[in-house]
Every structure is written in C-alpha cells, then in structure tokens.
C-alpha cells in the first residue's frame, strides 16, 4: 500500500474535488443535508480554480443555471438530495431534451416527503426510469466507496460530454458523509477539452447556434427523440458497468448497489467464512443496467437476493433480467435505516443451502 498521496476526505468533499479535477468550472447548488459539504467545498475551492460558484435561490434555479452554463459549453455540475432532486426533474428533462452535458449528484436521504436525513436508496426509480417527463434517460452511476465516487464523478463528466446528456451520480447520505482515504486524480485543464461546436459562444463568423428542446411539429420532435433513442441504445451497448465478487461458484448471489453493495461485500465474506457460497453482483451503472450479466447468472444460481435501502426498486430490473429463471427475493429497510452485514447474512441464510 502506498503511504503517500492519500487524503482522508468525506464523500461530499471528494466528489466536489473530483469535479474540479474533471475540469468542471461551474457549480450551482442549494444547501440540503446530507450533501451540504459538497456545496461548501465548492464555495471555497471553485473560485480558486477560476470557476463559477453560485448558491442559487433554489434547486430549480440551480439546475437552470446548469442548463445555461452547459449551453455555453462549460462542464457544469449541481448536487442535492432527494427533495431537491425532485425539484430539478423539470430542468433535467429540459437538459436531456436540449442534449446538454451536465452532471447531477444525488446524495439520497430517507423519504418520501421531508422524511429525514439518514442514508437511503429510495430514489433509484426516479433516477433510472426518468423522474422528469417525456422519454429521456440519464446515465446513472452508483459509487460504492469514496475512491470510486471520485472515479465516477470524473467519468460522469466524460460521458456527459460524449453522449450529450445529463449524467447522475447516485450516492447516499452514508457515502456523502463518511470519510475514506482517496488518491486525487490528475486535473484536467478545461482549455484542453475538445471544443463544443454546438455551444452558445456568440455567432461570430458562423451560423447562429440554437440550443433547444422545443419542436412544435410532432414529426420534427419525433425525429429528435428517435435520434436520442439511438444514442441510448449505443450507451446501453457501451457503458454498462458492474462488478462481480465471488460469483464463480456461488449458489446464492446478492445484487446490491452503492453503499448497500459494500456492506453486502462484508456479508459475503462472513457467509464464506461460514461455508455459505454467497456471491455479489454490483451494478455500477444502474442505467444502463447490467441485464446481461444477471441473465447469465440467473442460468446458474438458484437465488438472486436483491438488497436495497428502500422498499424494492432495483429488484424490478433484476427480475426483468432473471425472467423467473431463479428466485428473486428482496430484502430492504426504509426510512434511513441501513441494513448491516449481520442483517443481510441472516436474510441470506433463508435461501442458502
């Protein structure tokens, strides 16, 4: 293990720093627990990086400022937690409709409504099936550790630019507030990023660039939408990310993402030490979802137990993949409760052996 260069950081701070490293030079946000440290980090560091920080008057203003900054060709980011993300759904739909790159971090908390500020995963559906209106998708990346949060924030900017759309990093209160040592990545100089020909920079010596999601004529809108759908198919082909852990000989597999996956990983170790052949499949991209690997697994394991900090959301995608070839039970806790390794192990034992 390298002793050097590791910085102990909270997830919120690490995601903020990762964005700056990724060449993001504009951040617009609004306070909400448990993501405040992200906004606060940006307020302290974005100006030093020569970037724009605004604490907006609301989450809605923030996402629309992102729309503006993205339209002007800048890497841009906003962050919030569950209720604040709901408020951004209209804006996210506009950003998707106008084909703008933008990174949105959701540090999920207990819901619905005001709920509480403890970690949860109740926004999986909102993130993956489109919280906003109309046919759009976001790439949704779900980190499991703080080093991975850094990695995935960097990747999120990359993918947002490549596919021209919003990309969400789906964290939770635990990942936002816990600390872990990270190695900070090398910084990207925004000046070295490829120019965005479509961006609003002033119609100097060229035709005017128009950024819009407005197509009055259904034929035209259909055409735009179909073109976007084609991009989604490409994303589904190229950008599925997941991790398998001890699945080779597994008889039961836990499917879990984010914090829940790392907690499950400990449960796998505990199970193995008791001789239970437990494995873990961890979607890293929850959209596009790793249907294929799950399909493959479902052909050789008897039970795929989905564990989430919610009432059962990703489990629908698991069931879509498994198509009744294996048992697909669900275990979850809600309201900001976090299942512990023991809780998971207890549940696993109902299906193992």
């Amino acid at each position: 293990m390298a002793k050097i260069d590791k910085v102990l950081m909270s997830g919120n701070e690490a995601m903020a720093e990762a964005a700056i490293c990724a060449g993001c030079r504009s951040y617009f946000g609004y306070p909400i627990t448990p993501q405040n440290e992200l906004l606060e980090y940006m307020s302290a560091h974005m100006p030093n990086a020569g970037g724009v920080f605004i604490q907006a008057e609301s989450e809605i203003a923030a996402i629309n400022m992102c729309y503006g900054a993205a339209a002007a060709g800048m890497r841009t980011m906003t962050s919030s937690s569950s209720p604040g993300i709901s408020l951004k759904t209209e804006g996210i739909s506009y950003i998707a409709g106008a084909d703008l790159p933008c990174v949105v971090v959701n540090v999920v908390r207990g819901g619905p409504g005001l709920g509480n500020i403890a970690p949860a995963q109740g926004d999986y559906f909102q993130a993956t099936k489109g919280g906003g209106h109309g046919d759009y998708h976001m790439i949704v990346l779900a980190p499991s550790t703080i080093p991975e949060s850094v990695e995935l924030v960097m990747l999120a900017f990359e993918l947002a630019d490549r596919y021209r759309g919003p990309v969400m990093v789906l964290a939770d209160g635990m990942l936002g507030q816990m600390m872990e040592p990270v190695v900070l990545p090398e910084s990207i100089d925004p000046a070295t990023l490829p120019a965005k020909q479509w961006a609003i920079t002033g119609a100097r010596g060229r035709e005017a660039n128009l950024v819009t999601s407005f197509y009055l004529d259904p034929v035209e809108l259909n055409e735009m939408d179909v073109r976007r759908e084609e991009r989604y198919r490409e994303i589904e082909k190229n950008e599925v990310r997941y991790e398998e852990y001890k699945t080779e000989d597994a008889e039961v597999v836990v499917a879990a993402f984010g914090s829940m996956a790392r907690i499950s990983r400990t449960a796998v170790r505990m199970a193995r030490s008791e001789g239970i052949k437990l494995g873990l499949l961890r979607p890293i991209s929850v959209w596009p979802f790793p249907y294929e690997p799950l399909r493959a697994l479902s052909r050789r394991v008897g039970t795929i137990l989905t564990v989430e900090m919610n009432a059962g959301q990703m489990v629908e995608d698991v069931r879509l993949a498994v198509a009744e070839r294996a048992e697909t039970p669900f275990y979850g806790q809600l309201g900001g409760l976090v299942p512990s390794p023991n809780d998971i192990l207890r549940e696993v034992k109902r299906y193992a052996g």
Partner: protein, 178 residues
C-alpha cells in the same frame, strides 16, 4: 483483518473528532480506513457517535454490527453499545462520568478518568484526546506517533502549536492510563 471502533458520548465531548483523528492516523499509516458519523439533526447537541474501521485490506462495510473497541464517554453510550462489542473486545470507559464497570465478562473494561485527567492538564476539553490515547494503547492498531501526526495535520494550521501540544500531552496521559 478489520479493526473496528465506536466512539460515543454527548455532543460536545468531541467523539466525532477523536474518531476522525484515528482515521487520519490510519490513513497516514497506510491502512485502509473508513470513518462513519452517526446521523442526527445537526446543531442540536444530544448524543453522538462515530464508527472507524482500519484494515490492511479494502474495507467492505463501514457499518459495524460488533465493534472490536468501544470508547464510551458517558453512561448512555456505554448502556447502548456494551452489548454489541465483540468478544475479547476492549471498552474504554470515562470513569470521570461513569461510575459503573462493564457488565459482560468476555470483554475488557478499561476505566480512564478522562475529564479529570483533562482538567488536570488545564484543558477540560481535551478529554476526547485522553480517550483516544487510551484506545490506541488498548488496541495497538496504530502507533501513538501516527495519532500525534494526525493531530498536527488536522489541527495544526487552525489551532496553532499551543493546542497541538496540549492535545499531545492528553494523548500521552490517556496512553499511559491503561
């Protein structure tokens, strides 16, 4: 192997910071580390706790069902967490505020008069450092110097040399108290 800690006490007793310092020490010592605060409404006092995991391999769960070591700075914390401590685990008890001993027989109870020691050093707020010194000694997971390095790193620039020195003395006293 994971070494797992829970630091618990009243808000204001500094358990959050003590945990962070251990995490920083672990980081500087080249270990894998997680530090996890417990959740509650901010700005409200009450009890607080945090969980620290140090390991030589990548850490799965930052949530710990059964910590190997517990620092209990007040009675409610001892009452709440004693049951959970791993067999053979260590419980460092703030005997300045807690009059009872551990009830279980399969764990090590270590009484340290944290507040008294801190007061005797002329720095009543350093009780958490006494606790940290004690639990470092009890578990041996990082050398005390690593913790002192962490104190310098995390508090040095803000608080200045004076505070660092006091904290170091508190760490030493705690270390030597068990």
């Amino acid at each position: 192997m994971d070494s797992t800690f829970v630091f618990a006490g009243f808000g204001g007793q500094g358990v959050i910071l003590a945990g962070k310092l251990l995490a920083q020490a672990g980081t500087d010592h080249g270990l894998h580390v997680t530090w996890l605060p417990s959740y509650g409404p901010e700005m409200r006092g009450g009890t607080a706790n945090c969980t620290v995991v140090l390991s030589d391999e990548p850490i799965g769960s930052p949530v710990v069902d059964n910590p190997g070591a517990l620092v209990a700075m007040n009675l409610p914390s001892l009452d709440r967490f004693e049951k959970a401590v791993l067999a053979e685990g260590a419980v460092v008890i703030n005997s300045s505020l807690i009059s009872r001993k551990v009830e279980r027989e399969d764990i090590r109870g270590l009484a340290v008069a944290m507040n008294d020691i801190a007061v005797s050093l002329g720095s009543p707020r350093a009780a958490n450092m006494v606790a940290l010194g004690a639990v470092v000694k009890a578990t041996g997971v990082v050398p005390l110097d690593a913790v002192k390095g962490a104190v310098k790193k995390m508090l040095g620039h803000k608080a200045g040399a004076k505070l660092v020195e006091i904290n170091e003395r508190a760490l030493d006293e705690g270390y030597n108290a068990v």
